[in-house]
Amino acid sequence: MAKVKGAIKVDVEKCKGCGLCVVACPSKVIDLAREVNGKGYNYAYMANPDACIGCANCAIVCPDSVIEVYKVKAEMA
């Protein structure tokens, strides 16, 4: 059976930590990091990467277009 697996890549230095992606994600993948980027923002990261389905909801709502989305169909063992 094929299962969809996704992953996101966040441009950490451009992320402003607004948190809109956190609530847009249907799979509760994203959280804001405890660490900050060069501008002092708690940037978005995949706290729960295994749950990502590559739906791109996070990227679509991002005001600063800092999220890239990738998706594969993985075979389940």
Binding site: G17, L20, P49, I60, P63, D64, I67, E68, K71
Partner: protein, 254 residues
């Protein structure tokens, strides 16, 4: 179970920033709706293949620097005068896709005359109207669009209708004008709303190609700095308080 490194490969890419957006970091506050709408306009321009044919008119307001973020030709108008400048640009270059991008202070206050007459003349342009019910750039003063009872820097006890008049629901007035062919009110607070708003912007730009007159897309937006709420709370506040007055949906589609 595949490893993240195996997923993040060029061949698996499903979404990335459009090339019509420049690599400049936007000056907007974290979570500001302006960034989302910029992206949608840029994506529509890319998908329609009209990057070389589009001329934007930027306003005065937080989005005054929009020309730094969309890699197209631009003109910068005096406060409220974007529709007048768009009229000139469109008449000199009728084959181009001309749009204005304006806040509610710009469009519904100082620029009320210009927008009304451009829409009434049916100029063949798109108007993107960002309604965040406040003057964002200058520090959150009351706008004509500010809701009854809404606190701003210049209405610290809330907007008082007796003193300040009613919120100006200008899009309903615009829809009455025979020069407009498509008038819609959208928002960008959820992934579904963003997708819908993009379709509306696309339709508006396609209308230019069909010489349909003025297409007007209001985006009910947040100004979380002016509203003094977090970006997420601002979206919730908008749904609860803005939507009952500024109702999302199409007002006119001819």
């Amino acid at each position: 179970m595949s490893d993240i490194k195996d997923i993040i490969k060029d061949e698996n890419l499903v979404y990335k920033k459009t090339k019509v957006l420049t690599d400049n970091v936007m000056h907007y506050c974290p979570g500001c709706s302006h960034g989302v709408v910029h992206k949608l306009v840029a994506e529509v321009i890319e998908e329609m293949g009209i990057q070389e044919k589009t001329i934007g008119i930027s306003p005065v307001g937080c989005s005054v620097l929009a020309y730094n973020y969309l890699d197209i030709d631009w003109q910068e108008a005096a406060h409220g005068r974007a529709p007048a400048l768009a009229t000139a640009v469109n008449r000199l270059h009728p084959e181009k896709y001309v749009f204005t991008y304006q806040g509610d202070g710009d469009l519904a206050s100082i620029g009320t005359a210009e927008i009304m007459h451009a829409c009434n003349r049916g100029e063949n342009i798109v108007v993107i109207f960002i309604n965040n019910a406040i003057y964002g750039m200058t520090g959150g003063q009351m706008a004509p669009t500010t809701l009854e009872g809404m606190k701003t820097a210049t209405s610290p006890y809330g907007r008082d209708i007796k003193l300040n008049g009613h919120p100006l629901i200008i899009t309903e007035l615009i829809a009455q004008l025979p020069g407009t062919s498509y008038v819609t009110r959208q928002a960008v607070h959820t992934p579904a709303a963003v997708r819908k708003c993009k379709k509306a912007i696309r339709k508006a730009f396609e209308n230019i190609g069909q010489k349909k007159g003025t297409s007007f897309v209001e985006v009910v937006s947040t100004c979380n700095s002016g509203w003094k709420l977090s970006p997420v709370k601002s979206n919730e506040w908008m749904v609860e308080n803005m939507f009952p007055v500024y109702k999302p949906g199409d007002l006119k589609d001819e």
